[in-house]
C-alpha cells in the first residue's frame, strides 16, 4: 500500500493497486469513487488471464485482487504455495447450461457435443454443473478445480469439448449445449437466468467470488475498508441494477466458504 501526500489539499491519499481479470470495471469504478472520498485511490490493473493476478499479488506487485472464485483461489495458493488470504466475499455469478437446440437438459441426445470452458477456474465448475444436471457422474471427492479426466460416469456418452471460456457462446450452433459462465453469457447477449436451460443454484458456495490479499495484509485498514465498501448495501443495489440480476451480490462470512 503506497502512501503519498497531496500537499495542495493537505489530505493523505493512499494508493492501492487492485488486480482484476477482464475489462469489466463497472463495479470497481463505482467503488473507486466511493473510496476516493475517503482518500483511497484504487488503481485497477487489468489482466486477460487467471494466473498472473495471483502471482503478481504474491510478489507484492498488487495490493489486492478480485477476480476469482474461492474454489480456484484455494487450489491456486496450495499448488503455488502462496501466502494469500481472502478478506471478503463479493458476488456469485451463476454458470449456466445453454442450448440453441434443446429446451431441457434431458432432451440432450446420446453422443451429443457439449462445449465446456478449458480453464482451471471454470472447468471443474462446469463439470459439477453437468453432474447437478444429471448428465455425468463425478467422484465423491471431486475437487472443484478438477478436470475432464475425472468424469466417472457418462451415460449419454457426451463428447465434452474444451474451448476457451469466451468461445463457449460462439460454439452454440455447433454443439448441443455450452456451459457458459455468467459474465461471458451476459456479454454475449444472453440473460443467464432467462436463457440458460439449467444454472447453478445459489448455494454453489465454492464459486462465490472473493477479494484476496497477502496474508500479512490481512488486517490492513485500507484494504479492509475497500472490502467494506464492496459489501455496502449501496453497492449491492448497484450490482443488481447494473447486471439485471444476473450477478448476485453474495456477502457471506468467510467461514461459510471454508476460511
Amino acid at each position: 500500500v503506497g502512501c503519498s501526500s497531496d500537499s495542495t489539499q493537505g489530505k493523505e491519499t493512499t494508493k492501492v493497486k487492485l488486480g482484476i481479470s477482464g475489462t469489466d470495471t463497472r463495479i470497481w469504478d463505482f467503488i473507486s469513487k466511493k473510496a476516493e472520498k475517503e482518500g483511497i485511490e484504487i488503481e485497477l490493473v487489468k489482466f486477460s488471464d487467471y494466473v498472473a493476478p495471483n502471482t503478481a499479488l504474491a510478489e507484492g506487485e498488487l495490493d489486492v485482487n478480485a477476480f476469482q472464485t474461492v474454489a480456484y483461489f484455494d487450489v491456486f495458493i496450495e499448488e503455488h504455495d502462496l501466502d494469500l488470504v481472502p478478506i471478503a466475499t463479493t458476488v456469485l455469478a451463476p454458470m449456466g447450461i445453454y442450448s440453441e437446440k434443446y429446451k431441457d437438459v434431458n432432451d440432450i441426445p446420446d453422443g451429443a457435443k457439449i462445449a465446456i470452458p478449458n480453464d482451471a477456474s471454470n472447468q471443474g465448475r462446469a463439470l459439477l454443473l453437468l453432474q447437478e444436471a444429471g448428465l455425468i457422474g463425478l467422484p465423491e471427492d471431486f475437487d472443484p478445480n478438477g478436470n475432464l479426466n475425472q468424469v466417472t460416469d457418462n451415460p449419454k456418452n457426451l463428447e465434452l469439448i474444451e474451448v476457451v471460456p469466451a468461445q463457449t457462446p460462439r460454439a452454440l450452433p455447433d454443439v448441443a449445449a455450452s456451459l457458459i459462465n455468467n459474465g461471458i453469457a451476459k456479454d454475449a447477449g444472453l440473460a443467464p437466468l432467462k436463457d440458460a436451460i439449467y444454472y447453478e443454484s445459489e448455494t454453489a458456495t465454492p464459486y462465490i467470488n472473493i477479494i484476496a490479499v497477502k496474508a500479512e495484509d490481512k488486517d490492513d485498514k485500507t484494504l479492509n475498508r475497500i472490502a467494506e465498501l464492496y459489501q455496502e448495501e449501496e453497492t449491492a443495489k448497484f450490482i443488481e441494477k447494473e447486471y439485471d440480476g444476473n450477478l448476485i451480490p453474495t456477502f457471506v462470512p468467510l467461514s461459510n466458504i471454508g476460511w
Binding site: E79, N118, A120, N147, N149, E162, V163, Q167, R170
Partner: protein, 216 residues
C-alpha cells in the same frame, strides 16, 4: 501429473494433424500468394499493380488480426468448410488463414532474392510466366524457401497451441491448460519437452534439406 500418457499421445496426434494439414493448406494458399506478390509488382513478370495492391492489402489485414480474433472472425468460414467451428479439424481453418499470409510474406522475400539474370535467361527463351515461376524462380529460390517453410512450420506449432481456444487440443494446449493454468509442472515439462523435440526435428530437417539444395 494431471494427465496420462494416453492424453499426451492423443494431444501429440492432434498437434501433428493440425500442423500437417494447416501447413499443407497454408502452403497451398501462401505459396501462390507469395509468388503473385512478387510477379505482379512493378517491373516484374506480369506487372499488375491492381492485383498487387489488393493482395498486399488483404495479406496485411490477415497479418494484423490477433490470432484469437481471427479464430472468431473465421467462424462462419470454418463452419462452412468443415461443418463446425470447434475441434481439431475446425482449428485448421483459422490456422491456415493465419499461416497462409505469413508464408506468402516469407515466400515473397525468398523469391525477391533470385538473381535477375536467371529471369532474363528465362525471358529470352520465351518462357511463359508460369514456366518462369515453376522452372526458374522456384527452383532457384528453393533452398531459401525450404528454410522459410521451416520457420513457418515452427510458427504453426506455436500457433496450434492457441488452437486450444476452439477445442483443437494438441500438445501446446495441454501445456497451457494443464501446465500453465493448473500448475502441473510435470505435464508442463513433458509437453514442452515434446514441443522442443518436434521443433528441433523440424529445424534440423529444414537445415539439412536447405543445405542439400544449396550445395555449399
Amino acid at each position: 501429473m494431471l494427465v496420462n500418457s494416453e492424453q499426451i499421445i492423443e494431444a501429440l496426434i492432434e498437434t501433428i494433424q493440425m500442423v500437417a494439414f494447416s501447413l499443407l493448406f497454408s502452403v497451398l494458399l501462401g505459396l501462390p500468394l507469395g509468388i503473385l506478390l512478387v510477379v505482379t509488382r512493378k517491373g516484374h513478370l506480369i506487372e499488375n499493380l491492381a492485383v498487387f495492391n489488393v493482395l498486399n492489402g488483404v495479406i496485411n489485414i490477415f497479418r494484423s488480426v490477433p490470432f484469437i480474433i481471427l479464430l472468431v472472425a473465421m467462424i462462419p468460414v470454418t463452419r462452412f468448410i468443415v461443418g463446425t467451428s470447434i475441434g481439431t479439424t475446425a482449428a485448421i481453418v483459422p490456422l491456415v488463414f493465419y499461416a497462409g499470409p505469413y508464408i506468402a510474406r516469407l515466400v515473397e522475400n525468398s523469391l525477391l532474392e533470385v538473381e535477375p539474370g536467371v529471369i532474363e535467361a528465362a525471358e529470352a527463351m520465351g518462357a511463359t510466366p508460369w514456366q518462369i515461376i515453376t522452372k526458374f524462380l522456384l527452383p532457384e529460390a528453393l533452398s531459401s524457401l525450404v528454410l522459410a517453410l521451416t520457420i513457418a512450420t515452427i510458427g504453426l506449432v506455436g500457433a496450434s497451441a492457441m488452437a486450444g481456444a476452439v477445442g483443437g487440443g494438441g500438445i501446446g494446449d495441454l501445456a497451457i491448460t494443464y501446465g500453465y493454468q493448473r500448475f502441473d509442472t510435470i505435464t508442463m515439462f513433458i509437453t514442452v519437452a515434446i514441443l522442443v523435440v518436434i521443433v528441433q526435428g523440424l529445424q534440423s530437417f529444414g537445415n539439412f534439406a536447405a543445405k542439400k539444395i544449396r550445395r555449399r
